[in-house]
Each structure stands twice: as C-alpha cells, then as structure tokens.
Amino acid sequence: MAPPDGTAFLKDSTAIVGIGRTPFARRLPESEKALACRAVLAALADAGIAPSEVDAFASYTMEETDEVELAKAVGAGDVTFFSKVGYGGGGSCATLAHLAAAITTGQATVGVAWRSRKRGSGPRPWTDTTAQLPTPAQWTRPFGLLRPADEIAMLARRYMHEYGATRDHLFNVALACRNRANQNPAAIMYERPLTRDMYMTSRWISEPLCLFDNCLETDGALACVLVSAARARDCRHRPVYVHSAAQGLPAQHHGMVNYWNDDPLAGPAWTAARHLWKQADFGPEDVDVAQIYDAFTPLIPLSLEGYGFCGRGEGGAFTEGGALETGGRLPLNTAGGGLSEAYVHGFNLITEGVRQLRGTSTAQVPGAETCLVTAGEGVPTSAVLLRN
C-alpha cells in the first residue's frame, strides 16, 4: 500500500521464493559463469518460475559474470532492471534491497540476485599489486598492511584493548560457526570439528588473528529469486518476506581501512542498523536467528554492537555462555557461515536465512519467524530483516 506522499514502502512488499546453489569446494572445475548459471537455474527451479519470466538482475562486485552473459545463458526474458553494488562482501544484502525496490515500484516483476566466485582455486585479490583496491591503498599497503586480514586485525587489537575482549571471545564465534557446519553436509567443514586447543595453538595470520579467525577460501555460487508478496503466495515454498532492507555508508567512512575519523570501531553496521530498525515492526530482541557476515571473527562482536544486540563494547561478552549456539540468545550462522560452510562473499548467509524461515535448515531454530542477515562489516555494507 503506497503512502499518501507517493513514495512506496518496501516493508514486506517482496519475498524470496527460490534459492539455489552449487556444491562448495576448494576447487570446482567449472568456470564462474557456468557456476552462476547453475545456481540461478536451481533457484528458479526451486521457485517454480520459468527463466523467461526473469526481468531483473542484481549482483555485487567482484562478480565477473555480467548480466548480459547470465541473462542470455539462462534464457531470461526482456530485462528491465539490473544493478551492481560495490564494496565486495558489503553488497550481498544490497542486491535484495535493490530488487525489492525495483519490484515494489513496478520496474520489474521477477528478480534474481546471485554470487559466483572461485576464491578457493582462484587468486587472492590482495596479491594483485597493480590493480589497487578501491581503498586509499597508498597510505597503507607500502607499510605492509597488505591483506583484509591485516586491516581488520588492526581494528581487532584496538577493540580488544579498549573493551577487554579476548581471543576466547573470538573462539566462541569460530566455534559456533564450526558447530553448525558440523551439522550441514554441504559445508566445507562438515566433518571437521574445532576445539579450543586447535584454535589457541593454530598458526597466526595477522596477530591478534589466527587461522581460525579467517574465513574459508571457496569455489561456489548461489542465487535467490525475489517477487512481489502477492505473487509469492502462489509460489511453491512458504514466502520469506523482505521485511526491511538497508545500505550503510557512514559519514567520513574510508572503507576497510577506516582509520581516519573520530570512531573507527563504529563501522557501517551502525548506519545500516539505524535505517533497518527504523523501517521494521520489531527490534533486535525479536530476532530469532542471525546470519552475520563473518569473513573474520571480530566482525561478529562489532556487528552485534552495531545492530543493537548489545551495548558498545559488549560484543565480546555477548558471545559467552553459548549465546551464539543452538538454543542460545542468538543462534548465529546456522549453516556454518563464511568461517565454516563456504566463503562466497556472504551470499550463503542469505540462503541460510531463507532456509531457517522455511523451517528447512540443517540446524533449525524451532519456530524461527525472524532472521537478520548482514553483509560485510568494515566496508560500505547492507543488511536485510527477513520474516515468514
């Protein structure tokens, strides 16, 4: 229902009706394009919608398969909306926000968002020293701050120093994700339990972050299909509504090297969260399950604070007492997340959110009705609240 001033609300106006994915592996033989096609066709089959009905696409950087290639390969119809969001993993949920806006305002009817990535067998982006990343690299990389892990470790050490967060708190994050992956046959780490001893004695990547504080390196692709709420009710599965959606680029933010403002520890999550909750009918205390972007474990306490699950500086302590485990205060990344299921720039967090609200997760939260899904924290980000 349109408000009287002619604008349109996104709240519950669209729903995810199809999800699809390829297998996940360190190395898959097919190209990113072929994997993208498989994931998109699987999502459309899941929705029961013909590819010829697709008229909108949304993706995010560094997606290498463009809309032209994908649309002609899967047999899309005439496409009237296509969008690509920047900032790597920060764009995952924004694809849904853009499709929801397009469908709600009548620019398209069937939207597909996707991510295909060969980060497992392909090159590590930070090893490319000629193509500078869209960050102020001249101020950071010459001094040996080379990788995303280094850039986040800088914030992590300060966070631990200011608030007394410990490596055990970061371990709690890694363990919760690993435990859920151990329940998920599709997860890379399905048969690989993690212990505190393994964590504490593992090799460093960038102190204070160790191997298990870092996400996986995975080949794989995922997709989802979005339609209007009215159409969703006729689809094959229980609709999962996009209740609220937000992007976040805070004032005076600098990307992952956010070192040049008053408060580097209050990242884009805070900005996205304010907009997300402002539009929503419920608050953080009503979220049944969360899929929070976990390229690195410290992003979880930072995001828990940003999205309002606890106060500033309390994100480490929040993880104590099994809070992130099944049955805890906020079950986290219930398919294993980027740390233990697959790292596909966070798109697997979206599809797991959908499974939770369909009731088909391998680590199902009983009766889950609401799910927060977030994109990469530390870069311009995005988030969605899903409900069933």
């Binding site: 090893t127 102020p136 300060r158 960038s206 102190e207």
Partner: protein, 146 residues
C-alpha cells in the same frame, strides 16, 4: 630491503609525499577563514565547509600507537622476508582523528623488523622520522623512549 611496495601517488596526495621528501610530516587542512579543519586522506574539498582552498599544515610528528598488527605469511615476498614486522597505526598528537599507518623502527634508516614485536604497546609515544622506500621517502616511527 627488496620488493617493498611504493605509494601509488594521486593528485590529492602528492603534496604529502613531496613534504615527506623534505623531512616534514604535513597534513592537508582547510584554508577557508574560520574553518581550518584537518583532513586525511587528502581530498579536493573540505568535508566541513566545502571550500576548495587548502594548505598543508606542518605537524609536530608526535603521536601514539593506536593499534598494531603482526602479519605472518602468506605475504608478498618482500614483506615475508621481514617477518615479524609490524605495521602500526599512529594517532597524531596534533590531530587525534588522523591515524597514519606506518612502521616502528629502531632508527630512521633501520629495516622494518628492527624492533622486536614485544616492544610494541598501544599508547606508546612515537616520533616521525623519514626513510627511503624504493625511491619514495615515507614516514617511519621511532619510540620516544626506546
């Protein structure tokens, strides 16, 4: 010191490196009357008042370590050879919201691994010094009380 990256200098940032070559740590500041806001990284106009007039204000070169990391391989080869080096983030005494990434060294020309990681402390007072890195003069940092 082999194969370290050098800054990819852009128009906005060029004066920083030119002053560094003279042994001066300068930060871009708004030149509009009544503003004077210091900003980093450099950019065309002032985010506070919109003025395109800028000056490069000399700083004392004093700061405190805000945070630091100790990277371990996999790294680019030139840096892997220097493990355990330790990029630091230095909060400038003259502009606390500006924190420069750099390296703590024993003295101006010393290599990046010349200070043991155990010597690093958040809050430690440091002073800028300058060193050549692949043909570009960059700031480095030494402890005020080594």
């Amino acid at each position: 010191m082999t194969e370290l990256l050098t800054p990819v200098v852009d128009d906005d940032g060029a004066p920083f490196w030119e002053y560094a070559a003279r042994g001066e740590l300068r930060v871009q500041a708004c030149a509009a009357a009544g503003c004077g806001a210091m900003r980093f990284p450099p950019r065309p106009c002032c985010p506070r008042c919109g003025s395109f007039a800028a000056v490069w204000r000399r700083t004392s070169g004093k700061g405190r370590i805000w945070s630091y990391v100790v990277p371990h391989p996999p790294l680019l080869p030139g840096y892997a050879a220097l493990v355990p080096y330790h990029p630091v983030l230095v909060e400038l005494a003259d502009a606390p919201h500006i924190r420069l990434v750099g390296n703590l060294v024993a003295r101006a020309g010393a290599p990046l691994d010349s200070v043991a990681p155990g010597r690093l402390r958040i809050g430690a007072r440091v002073q800028a010094v300058f060193a050549d890195q692949g043909g570009v003069v960059v700031p480095r940092w030494v402890l005020e009380r080594p």
